[in-house]
């Protein structure tokens, strides 16, 4: 086998996108989308509380997303999004330069469980400081730790140990430099906006990081950010320099733009309720849906 490009990610196959483990277990597609979206946000929030760099959090979210895809992927009837999110963070940090103990992870998820979703305010997460109140008891810790380790192994198995993640963040800055935008007075606004889009893409129900390579993601983020900030980029097909064709660019831009309306819709649907993040909660939600149909 050849040396894989350091810029490339393993991508989902068509078969993996067509059918998921949850669908085989008759979990409605919209529910799966909601749980996956909430799970990605939960992972992001846990990563912030664990003081992890965004690259590590992004990797964890991508591992989390890979787990659910394909007929042999994880099913919501067997795994709760919370446990998979926690195990994804645990796995990713273990391989990174910022390992986190099972205890920190268990405590952080216990705290996040107490916050009604979806109201993770990034600023609140960064300032809140009453961690001790949420420390779990020793017994609970032991149970959750075992659960964490078992889920970790299942993720490794389902992914065939494919934890490689290449991220577009550094590429994005390199591309902006190549486009010579940093001489512009509002260049940092553009760069921030582009980075924000890359973070948004992590939450996308279209699983952009599992279907497109980092160079294209970075290019689309820059394209959209430039349009939004009104900063003019070269009047040529510059995206081709970054190996993205017009069609892919268009698709990614539309996908990036659609996350906001999806998020708003989710907020409306789940207003006052919690997105089911455990196997039991998913079962309860399914029962509730059946009951309301009758």
């Amino acid at each position: 086998m050849q040396q894989p490009s350091p810029l490339a990610n393993p991508l989902a196959t068509v078969a993996q996108l067509r059918e998921t483990g949850s669908q085989i277990d008759n979990i409605p597609r919209d529910l799966e989308d909601s749980v996956r979206f909430a799970g990605a946000q939960l992972t992001q929030a846990a990563g912030i509380l664990l003081r992890l760099p965004q690259e590590v959090i992004a990797q964890a979210i991508i591992v989390f997303a890979r787990f659910w895809l394909g007929p042999e992927g994880g099913s919501l009837a067997e795994f709760g999004a919370r446990q998979v999110s926690a195990a994804s963070i645990y796995l990713t940090t273990k391989l990174s330069a910022y390992p986190k103990s099972p205890r920190s992870i268990v405590n952080v998820y216990a705290y996040l469980d107490s916050i009604p979703f979806p109201s993770f305010e990034t600023d609140v997460l960064r300032t809140e400081n009453k961690a001790e109140e949420y420390y779990v008891s020793e017994g609970t810790y032991q149970t959750r730790k075992l659960d964490l380790f078992e889920t970790e192994q299942r993720i490794l198995k389902v992914l065939g140990f494919q934890l490689q993640v290449s991220l577009p963040y550094a590429l994005c800055i390199t591309y902006l430099q190549a486009l010579d935008v940093f001489s512009h007075p509002r260049a940092s606004e553009l760069a921030k906006r582009a980075t924000a889009h890359l973070n948004t893409a992590l939450l996308s129900p279209q699983l952009m990081y599992l279907t497109h390579q980092p160079p294209s993601l970075a290019t689309a983020a820059i394209y959209l950010a430039a349009k939004e900030t009104g900063i003019k980029l070269p009047d040529v097909e510059w995206w081709e320099v970054f190996d993205t064709d017009r069609e892919e660019l268009g698709f990614l831009v539309v996908a990036l733009l659609s996350v906001e309306s999806f998020a708003k819709e989710e907020q409306k649907v789940w207003q006052g309720k919690k997105v089911p993040m455990t196997v039991e909660a998913v079962e309860a939600e399914l029962k509730r849906r059946h009951a309301s149909q009758d």
Binding site: S5, L7, A12, Y98, E150, K157, L159, Q164, V254
Partner: protein
């Protein structure tokens, strides 16, 4: 393909965009056809054509296109964009797809055996991962690092990882790797004579090119030794066992452990407790392996940390302010009672490498001495080693095809348990700060080969 996720608004936008794109394509196609007709006419008119190879980015200035002729237009339609491929992922296969042939060795974190893929008949090496029975940290980090690094490190001189299997037991995990007939350690033990100079060169060059690849990909091996280096019957060398390997950490991350590299191959700065080390520690190990290939036995067989350091200083001389300025800032250097000015004592500051390897050429001695520089900053990089005149002088490196073949222990029979010490394990050895080196030069006498006591305070 309609998007199953996007809302209707986005769908509409998408459809519109696609339509526009289609029109654009149609227009381009028409243009191309016209251009081709023009080209035919023009080709008939003028014999000498000047194809413009300019790569174009813009569609806008079409008048210019006409001038440049058909070739530029063709370039445009063929504009090749780089495609990045990194495959996909699929669940682990079951271990029952393989049939075990014989066991090879038990390593520091797993059992290795030779096996056959039942469907393809391919012979492979299976490495079963030892799971931590106490479940302190979940899946073993060493195995995770080895897998992650082997997945990335595809090189002709690095053992290739085919896939990972799981067994019926939830914690049974097996690495499937390519099988090579020998490891350098066992092979050398069974050889009556050391490798020839030309063979040593070929082996060292393959080893160094693997190291150069690893280091340029920010990977430290951290446990290079002859038992981790495999050799095929065709003289092809590959580095194996990445259980200690890791990526060079980012600048502000907590420093990695100093408890790395098997004692006999461990660089002096590690023995002295440095917190910041990098690729130089692998280069020291490379020097030890070079010496071992020449001698047919390990170069610096210390009994413990103190003894190892004593052997190093006996071979390379004691460090001085001049040869290793950073030496006195290392945590354990204070407990070494080396005089600041060793020239006034009987301690040797010069290297004994020349006299230890009488048959080695001057270039060979120069390469070995530089690899075994006490000061890590003076050790050459892997790339520099590859450019060293040692490899271009006579005798030339022997072509791999001309390598002698040997009976394979791993392939045919049970192998003796390795007697060389293993890489240090987490929490096994006392912290380096606790090792008392004060006995090493206590009497101010010349360095003895061994016999120092390891005293834990």
């Amino acid at each position: 393909m309609s998007s199953r996720w996007a809302d209707s608004e986005a769908d509409a936008a998408e459809a519109k965009r696609r339509k526009k794109e289609k029109e654009e394509k149609k227009r381009l196609k028409l243009q191309k056809q016209q251009a081709e007709q023009e080209a035919a006419v023009r080709a008939a008119q003028q014999a000498e054509s000047r194809p413009s190879k300019r790569r174009r980015l813009s569609n806008d200035d079409e008048e210019e296109e006409g001038k440049n002729g058909p070739s530029s237009k063709e370039n445009e339609s063929q504009r090749k964009l780089l495609r990045f491929e990194a495959g996909s992922w699929a669940p682990c296969r079951h271990t029952s797809n393989f049939e075990t042939l014989n066991h090879i060795e038990e390593g520091s974190y797993g059992w290795v055996s030779r096996a056959k893929d039942i469907t393809t008949g391919q012979v492979v090496a299976l490495k079963k991962i030892k799971m931590d029975t106490h479940h302190q940290d979940g899946f073993p980090i060493t195995a995770m690092r080895e897998i992650a690094i082997l997945q990335r490190a595809r090189h002709t001189n690095i053992v290739s990882l085919h896939e990972i299997l799981t067994g019926s037991a939830s914690d049974e995990v097996v690495l499937v790797m390519e099988f090579l007939e020998h490891d350098l350690k066992t092979l050398q033990e069974d050889m009556p004579e050391p490798f020839l100079a030309s063979e040593t060169k070929t082996l060292l060059r393959q080893l160094t090119s693997a190291l150069s690849f690893l280091h340029s990909n920010f990977i430290l091996h951290r446990d290079l030794k002859t038992s981790n280096i495999l050799l095929s019957n065709r003289g092809h060398l590959k580095i194996a066992d990445f259980g200690m390997a890791r990526y060079i950490p980012p600048p502000h991350a907590p420093p990695p452990t100093q408890l790395v590299v098997t004692l006999w191959y461990r660089a002096p700065e590690l023995l002295l407790g440095t917190e910041t080390y990098s690729t130089e520690i692998d280069m020291w190990s490379l020097g030890c392996i070079f010496g071992e290939l020449l001698l047919k036995s390990p170069l610096l067989q210390g009994k413990n940390e103190v003894d190892e350091l004593a052997l190093i200083f006996a071979l390379c001389g004691v460090p001085t302010d001049k040869t290793w300025p950073g030496f006195w800032r290392l945590p354990n250097s204070k407990s070494l009672k080396i005089p600041r000015d060793p020239s006034s004592s009987s301690l040797k500051t010069s290297s004994q490498i020349r006299s230890k390897f009488p048959s080695l050429t001057t270039e060979g001695v120069s390469l070995l001495s530089s690899l075994l520089s006490l000061n890590p900053d003076r050790r050459p990089s892997a790339d520099e080693v590859l450019r060293h005149p040692y490899f271009s002088e006579a005798p030339k490196p022997k072509p791999m095809e001309l390598f002698p073949t040997f009976p394979s222990k791993a392939g045919q029979e049970r192998r003796r348990r390795a007697v060389s010490p293993n890489a240090p394990k987490r929490g096994e050895a006392p912290g380096m700060g606790d090792v008392d080196f004060s006995g090493l030069f206590g009497e101010g006498e010349g360095v003895k080969g061994s016999g120092f006591q390891l005293r834990v305070v």
